[in-house]
Symmetry: C2
Subunit: 147 residues, 2 copies
DNA sequence: CTGCAAGTTGAAGTTCACTTCAGCTCAAGC
DNA sequence: GCTTGAGCTGAAGTGAACTTCAACTTGCAG
Protein backbone atom coordinates (compact mmCIF):
# COMPACT_ATOMS: atom_id res chain seq x y z
CA UNK A 1 0.00 0.00 0.00
CA UNK A 2 2.09 2.86 -1.12
CA UNK A 3 -0.58 4.99 -2.68
CA UNK A 4 -3.80 6.22 -1.15
CA UNK A 5 -7.34 6.35 -2.42
CA UNK A 6 -9.16 9.60 -2.07
CA UNK A 7 -11.08 8.22 0.87
CA UNK A 8 -7.90 7.23 2.63
CA UNK A 9 -6.27 10.58 2.04
CA UNK A 10 -9.42 12.25 3.28
CA UNK A 11 -9.48 10.19 6.44
CA UNK A 12 -5.81 10.74 7.08
CA UNK A 13 -5.79 14.44 6.42
CA UNK A 14 -9.16 15.39 7.80
CA UNK A 15 -10.04 17.03 4.52
CA UNK A 16 -13.22 15.97 2.74
CA UNK A 17 -12.94 14.12 -0.56
CA UNK A 18 -14.84 16.90 -2.25
CA UNK A 19 -12.26 19.37 -1.01
CA UNK A 20 -9.43 17.19 -2.26
CA UNK A 21 -11.01 17.07 -5.71
CA UNK A 22 -11.42 20.80 -5.50
CA UNK A 23 -7.76 21.26 -4.59
CA UNK A 24 -6.78 19.15 -7.54
CA UNK A 25 -8.89 21.21 -9.93
CA UNK A 26 -7.22 24.26 -8.46
CA UNK A 27 -3.79 22.82 -8.98
CA UNK A 28 -2.82 22.50 -5.34
CA UNK A 29 -2.36 18.76 -5.25
CA UNK A 30 -1.91 16.00 -7.77
CA UNK A 31 -3.10 12.48 -8.25
CA UNK A 32 -2.40 9.69 -10.66
CA UNK A 33 -5.21 7.51 -11.98
CA UNK A 34 -5.91 3.80 -11.97
CA UNK A 35 -7.11 2.00 -15.07
CA UNK A 36 -10.62 2.65 -13.86
CA UNK A 37 -10.00 6.39 -13.58
CA UNK A 38 -9.85 6.51 -9.83
CA UNK A 39 -7.40 8.80 -8.09
CA UNK A 40 -4.35 7.39 -6.35
CA UNK A 41 -2.28 9.66 -4.18
CA UNK A 42 1.37 9.34 -3.45
CA UNK A 43 2.14 9.54 0.25
CA UNK A 44 3.93 12.80 -0.40
CA UNK A 45 0.57 14.39 -1.04
CA UNK A 46 -0.22 14.06 2.63
CA UNK A 47 2.45 16.60 3.30
CA UNK A 48 1.02 18.96 0.74
CA UNK A 49 -2.40 18.70 2.24
CA UNK A 50 -0.98 19.28 5.69
CA UNK A 51 0.82 22.32 4.41
CA UNK A 52 -2.39 23.65 2.93
CA UNK A 53 -4.19 23.25 6.22
CA UNK A 54 -1.46 24.98 8.13
CA UNK A 55 -1.30 27.86 5.72
CA UNK A 56 -5.03 28.28 6.01
CA UNK A 57 -4.68 28.48 9.75
CA UNK A 58 -2.33 31.34 9.27
CA UNK A 59 -4.92 33.02 7.13
CA UNK A 60 -3.41 32.58 3.71
CA UNK A 61 -5.65 32.25 0.67
CA UNK A 62 -5.61 29.21 -1.58
CA UNK A 63 -4.26 31.39 -4.33
CA UNK A 64 -1.19 32.21 -2.33
CA UNK A 65 -0.85 28.65 -1.15
CA UNK A 66 -0.87 27.45 -4.72
CA UNK A 67 1.81 29.94 -5.53
CA UNK A 68 3.94 28.74 -2.66
CA UNK A 69 3.48 25.11 -3.54
CA UNK A 70 4.40 25.89 -7.11
CA UNK A 71 7.87 26.67 -5.89
CA UNK A 72 8.39 23.03 -4.98
CA UNK A 73 10.16 20.92 -7.57
CA UNK A 74 7.84 19.18 -9.96
CA UNK A 75 10.13 16.49 -11.15
CA UNK A 76 10.87 14.91 -7.81
CA UNK A 77 9.39 14.40 -4.40
CA UNK A 78 10.15 17.46 -2.29
CA UNK A 79 12.98 16.95 0.14
CA UNK A 80 13.35 18.10 3.65
CA UNK A 81 15.22 21.10 2.34
CA UNK A 82 12.42 22.03 -0.01
CA UNK A 83 9.90 21.99 2.78
CA UNK A 84 12.22 23.91 5.03
CA UNK A 85 12.50 26.72 2.57
CA UNK A 86 8.77 26.89 2.23
CA UNK A 87 8.09 26.76 5.90
CA UNK A 88 10.66 29.46 6.52
CA UNK A 89 8.66 31.72 4.27
CA UNK A 90 5.47 31.01 6.12
CA UNK A 91 7.18 31.36 9.41
CA UNK A 92 7.81 34.93 8.55
CA UNK A 93 4.17 35.54 7.69
CA UNK A 94 3.18 33.82 10.84
CA UNK A 95 5.41 35.99 12.93
CA UNK A 96 3.98 39.12 11.41
CA UNK A 97 0.51 37.88 12.07
CA UNK A 98 1.36 37.07 15.66
CA UNK A 99 2.87 40.48 16.13
CA UNK A 100 -0.31 42.15 14.90
CA UNK A 101 -2.41 40.11 17.27
CA UNK A 102 -0.13 40.78 20.17
CA UNK A 103 -0.28 44.46 19.55
CA UNK A 104 -4.01 44.07 19.47
CA UNK A 105 -4.00 42.18 22.73
CA UNK A 106 -1.79 44.64 24.51
CA UNK A 107 -3.91 47.59 23.58
CA UNK A 108 -7.33 46.09 23.52
CA UNK A 109 -8.56 46.54 27.02
CA UNK A 110 -6.98 49.90 27.35
CA UNK A 111 -8.41 51.17 24.14
CA UNK A 112 -11.88 49.82 24.22
CA UNK A 113 -12.25 50.00 27.93
CA UNK A 114 -11.15 53.53 28.47
CA UNK A 115 -13.37 54.98 25.84
CA UNK A 116 -10.41 56.17 23.87
CA UNK A 117 -11.28 53.70 21.19
CA UNK A 118 -10.84 56.37 18.68
CA UNK A 119 -9.78 55.63 15.22
CA UNK A 120 -7.13 58.26 15.49
CA UNK A 121 -5.24 57.39 18.59
CA UNK A 122 -5.44 53.62 18.43
CA UNK A 123 -3.84 51.83 15.55
CA UNK A 124 -5.76 48.72 16.41
CA UNK A 125 -8.29 49.37 13.81
CA UNK A 126 -5.98 49.86 10.91
CA UNK A 127 -4.52 46.50 10.14
CA UNK A 128 -1.05 46.37 8.80
CA UNK A 129 -2.00 43.78 6.22
CA UNK A 130 -4.18 43.90 3.23
CA UNK A 131 -7.17 45.84 4.43
CA UNK A 132 -5.40 48.97 3.42
CA UNK A 133 -6.62 48.32 -0.11
CA UNK A 134 -9.41 50.82 0.16
CA UNK A 135 -8.38 54.37 0.74
CA UNK A 136 -9.70 54.33 4.24
CA UNK A 137 -6.36 54.03 5.94
CA UNK A 138 -5.11 56.71 8.24
CA UNK A 139 -6.63 59.66 6.49
CA UNK A 140 -8.54 60.45 9.59
CA UNK A 141 -10.11 63.72 10.16
CA UNK A 142 -8.21 64.93 13.15
CA UNK A 143 -9.22 66.04 16.56
CA UNK A 144 -12.94 65.40 16.92
CA UNK A 145 -13.54 66.78 20.38
CA UNK A 146 -14.24 64.14 22.91
CA UNK A 147 -13.41 61.25 20.75
CA UNK B 1 -21.78 68.35 14.66
CA UNK B 2 -22.58 65.63 17.04
CA UNK B 3 -23.85 63.05 14.62
CA UNK B 4 -22.16 61.69 11.56
CA UNK B 5 -23.37 61.02 8.04
CA UNK B 6 -22.66 57.64 6.56
CA UNK B 7 -19.86 59.12 4.51
CA UNK B 8 -18.26 60.61 7.57
CA UNK B 9 -18.52 57.42 9.54
CA UNK B 10 -17.07 55.57 6.59
CA UNK B 11 -14.14 57.94 6.33
CA UNK B 12 -13.50 57.84 10.04
CA UNK B 13 -13.77 54.12 10.46
CA UNK B 14 -12.29 52.98 7.23
CA UNK B 15 -15.36 50.90 6.51
CA UNK B 16 -17.20 51.41 3.22
CA UNK B 17 -20.68 52.94 3.28
CA UNK B 18 -22.07 49.81 1.69
CA UNK B 19 -20.60 47.76 4.53
CA UNK B 20 -22.10 50.11 7.10
CA UNK B 21 -25.53 49.69 5.55
CA UNK B 22 -24.94 45.98 5.52
CA UNK B 23 -24.01 46.02 9.20
CA UNK B 24 -27.16 47.91 9.95
CA UNK B 25 -29.32 45.39 8.10
CA UNK B 26 -27.54 42.73 10.10
CA UNK B 27 -28.25 44.47 13.36
CA UNK B 28 -24.66 45.26 14.26
CA UNK B 29 -24.94 49.01 14.32
CA UNK B 30 -27.75 51.52 14.48
CA UNK B 31 -28.57 54.84 12.92
CA UNK B 32 -31.27 57.41 13.34
CA UNK B 33 -32.77 59.13 10.35
CA UNK B 34 -33.14 62.72 9.24
CA UNK B 35 -36.43 64.05 7.90
CA UNK B 36 -35.17 63.16 4.45
CA UNK B 37 -34.45 59.56 5.46
CA UNK B 38 -30.69 59.86 5.59
CA UNK B 39 -28.75 58.03 8.24
CA UNK B 40 -27.20 59.90 11.13
CA UNK B 41 -24.83 58.11 13.43
CA UNK B 42 -24.20 58.90 17.02
CA UNK B 43 -20.52 59.16 17.84
CA UNK B 44 -20.86 56.07 19.96
CA UNK B 45 -21.28 54.08 16.77
CA UNK B 46 -17.65 54.73 15.97
CA UNK B 47 -16.76 52.57 18.89
CA UNK B 48 -19.03 49.80 17.71
CA UNK B 49 -17.52 49.85 14.27
CA UNK B 50 -14.05 49.82 15.74
CA UNK B 51 -15.02 46.86 17.85
CA UNK B 52 -16.32 45.04 14.80
CA UNK B 53 -13.07 45.62 12.95
CA UNK B 54 -11.02 44.40 15.84
CA UNK B 55 -13.10 41.30 16.32
CA UNK B 56 -12.75 40.52 12.64
CA UNK B 57 -9.02 40.81 12.97
CA UNK B 58 -9.18 38.19 15.63
CA UNK B 59 -11.15 36.00 13.28
CA UNK B 60 -14.62 36.21 14.75
CA UNK B 61 -17.67 35.95 12.50
CA UNK B 62 -20.21 38.72 12.22
CA UNK B 63 -22.73 36.43 13.82
CA UNK B 64 -20.66 36.16 16.95
CA UNK B 65 -19.86 39.83 16.90
CA UNK B 66 -23.53 40.65 16.77
CA UNK B 67 -24.10 38.38 19.70
CA UNK B 68 -21.37 40.08 21.67
CA UNK B 69 -22.65 43.54 20.82
CA UNK B 70 -26.11 42.46 21.85
CA UNK B 71 -24.82 42.20 25.40
CA UNK B 72 -24.33 45.94 25.49
CA UNK B 73 -27.16 47.93 27.08
CA UNK B 74 -29.70 49.15 24.59
CA UNK B 75 -31.18 51.91 26.58
CA UNK B 76 -28.04 53.92 27.14
CA UNK B 77 -24.71 54.62 25.59
CA UNK B 78 -22.28 51.91 26.67
CA UNK B 79 -19.96 52.97 29.44
CA UNK B 80 -16.33 52.28 29.93
CA UNK B 81 -17.32 49.33 32.09
CA UNK B 82 -19.53 47.87 29.39
CA UNK B 83 -16.74 47.96 26.86
CA UNK B 84 -14.29 46.58 29.37
CA UNK B 85 -16.41 43.52 29.92
CA UNK B 86 -16.69 42.96 26.23
CA UNK B 87 -13.03 43.49 25.51
CA UNK B 88 -12.10 41.17 28.33
CA UNK B 89 -14.06 38.47 26.57
CA UNK B 90 -12.32 39.08 23.29
CA UNK B 91 -8.99 39.33 24.98
CA UNK B 92 -9.40 35.77 25.98
CA UNK B 93 -10.20 34.67 22.46
CA UNK B 94 -7.29 36.68 21.23
CA UNK B 95 -4.93 35.00 23.63
CA UNK B 96 -6.09 31.59 22.55
CA UNK B 97 -5.62 32.55 18.96
CA UNK B 98 -2.14 33.84 19.64
CA UNK B 99 -1.27 30.66 21.48
CA UNK B 100 -2.39 28.57 18.52
CA UNK B 101 -0.30 30.58 16.13
CA UNK B 102 2.71 30.48 18.39
CA UNK B 103 2.46 26.75 18.67
CA UNK B 104 2.26 26.69 14.92
CA UNK B 105 5.30 28.89 14.60
CA UNK B 106 7.36 26.86 17.01
CA UNK B 107 6.63 23.61 15.31
CA UNK B 108 6.36 24.63 11.74
CA UNK B 109 9.89 24.31 10.53
CA UNK B 110 10.50 21.21 12.53
CA UNK B 111 7.38 19.50 11.36
CA UNK B 112 7.32 20.35 7.74
CA UNK B 113 11.04 20.40 7.34
CA UNK B 114 11.82 17.10 8.93
CA UNK B 115 9.30 15.18 6.98
CA UNK B 116 7.44 14.26 10.10
CA UNK B 117 4.58 16.35 8.93
CA UNK B 118 2.21 13.64 9.78
CA UNK B 119 -1.32 14.34 10.68
CA UNK B 120 -1.01 12.19 13.73
CA UNK B 121 2.09 13.38 15.44
CA UNK B 122 1.75 17.06 14.78
CA UNK B 123 -1.21 18.83 16.14
CA UNK B 124 -0.59 21.71 13.86
CA UNK B 125 -3.17 20.58 11.47
CA UNK B 126 -6.08 20.28 13.83
CA UNK B 127 -7.32 23.69 14.68
CA UNK B 128 -8.26 24.25 18.25
CA UNK B 129 -10.77 26.76 17.07
CA UNK B 130 -12.68 27.34 13.91
CA UNK B 131 -11.12 30.50 12.65
CA UNK B 132 -9.96 29.77 9.20
CA UNK B 133 -13.10 28.37 7.74
CA UNK B 134 -14.97 25.24 8.44
CA UNK B 135 -12.54 22.46 9.13
CA UNK B 136 -13.05 18.78 9.08
CA UNK B 137 -12.25 18.43 12.75
CA UNK B 138 -10.17 15.85 14.49
CA UNK B 139 -11.55 12.67 13.09
CA UNK B 140 -8.17 11.18 12.34
CA UNK B 141 -7.69 7.57 11.65
CA UNK B 142 -4.92 6.56 13.96
CA UNK B 143 -1.57 4.95 13.47
CA UNK B 144 -0.97 4.66 9.73
CA UNK B 145 2.47 3.05 9.55
CA UNK B 146 5.29 5.24 8.43
CA UNK B 147 3.50 8.48 8.39
C1' DC C 1 -32.90 78.48 -6.31
C1' DT C 2 -30.17 75.61 -8.70
C1' DG C 3 -26.55 72.21 -9.34
C1' DC C 4 -24.48 68.30 -7.94
C1' DA C 5 -22.15 65.40 -4.62
C1' DA C 6 -23.81 62.44 -1.28
C1' DG C 7 -27.49 59.60 0.23
C1' DT C 8 -31.55 56.16 -0.41
C1' DT C 9 -33.55 51.44 -1.80
C1' DG C 10 -34.02 46.41 -3.15
C1' DA C 11 -32.12 43.20 -5.92
C1' DA C 12 -28.60 41.09 -7.98
C1' DG C 13 -23.66 40.14 -8.40
C1' DT C 14 -18.92 38.75 -6.46
C1' DT C 15 -15.26 36.06 -4.23
C1' DC C 16 -13.73 32.35 -1.52
C1' DA C 17 -13.73 27.80 -0.32
C1' DC C 18 -16.09 24.37 -0.60
C1' DT C 19 -20.42 20.95 -0.70
C1' DT C 20 -24.24 18.73 -2.90
C1' DC C 21 -26.48 16.47 -6.55
C1' DA C 22 -27.62 13.29 -10.27
C1' DG C 23 -26.34 9.83 -12.79
C1' DC C 24 -23.11 7.00 -13.67
C1' DT C 25 -18.74 3.34 -13.12
C1' DC C 26 -15.44 0.66 -10.32
C1' DA C 27 -13.80 -2.86 -7.18
C1' DA C 28 -13.96 -6.04 -3.50
C1' DG C 29 -16.41 -9.53 -0.59
C1' DC C 30 -19.54 -13.28 -0.44
C1' DG D 1 -22.04 -13.06 -10.57
C1' DC D 2 -24.07 -9.87 -7.68
C1' DT D 3 -24.37 -6.54 -4.40
C1' DT D 4 -22.70 -2.67 -2.15
C1' DG D 5 -19.88 0.95 -1.00
C1' DA D 6 -16.44 3.95 -2.89
C1' DG D 7 -15.33 6.80 -6.65
C1' DC D 8 -16.15 9.54 -11.06
C1' DT D 9 -17.99 13.90 -13.54
C1' DG D 10 -19.90 18.56 -14.48
C1' DA D 11 -23.03 21.66 -12.86
C1' DA D 12 -25.30 23.89 -9.51
C1' DG D 13 -25.81 25.33 -4.67
C1' DT D 14 -24.05 27.40 -0.11
C1' DG D 15 -22.81 30.91 3.22
C1' DA D 16 -20.11 34.66 4.67
C1' DA D 17 -19.26 39.27 3.91
C1' DC D 18 -19.73 42.49 1.17
C1' DT D 19 -20.14 45.37 -3.48
C1' DT D 20 -22.48 46.98 -7.48
C1' DC D 21 -26.32 48.66 -9.94
C1' DA D 22 -30.14 51.49 -11.38
C1' DA D 23 -33.21 54.68 -10.40
C1' DC D 24 -34.34 57.99 -7.48
C1' DT D 25 -34.06 61.83 -3.46
C1' DT D 26 -31.54 65.09 -0.15
C1' DG D 27 -29.15 68.81 1.29
C1' DC D 28 -25.64 72.19 1.20
C1' DA D 29 -22.57 75.81 -1.49
C1' DG D 30 -22.73 79.41 -4.40
Amino acid sequence: MESLTIGELAARSGVAPSALRFYEREGLIHASRTGGNQRRYDRAELRRVAFIKIAQQVGVSLDEIREALASLPENRTPTKGDWSRLSARWRHRLEERIAVLERLRDQLTGCIGCGCLSLQRCKLVNPSDRLAGRGAGPQMVLNPPGD
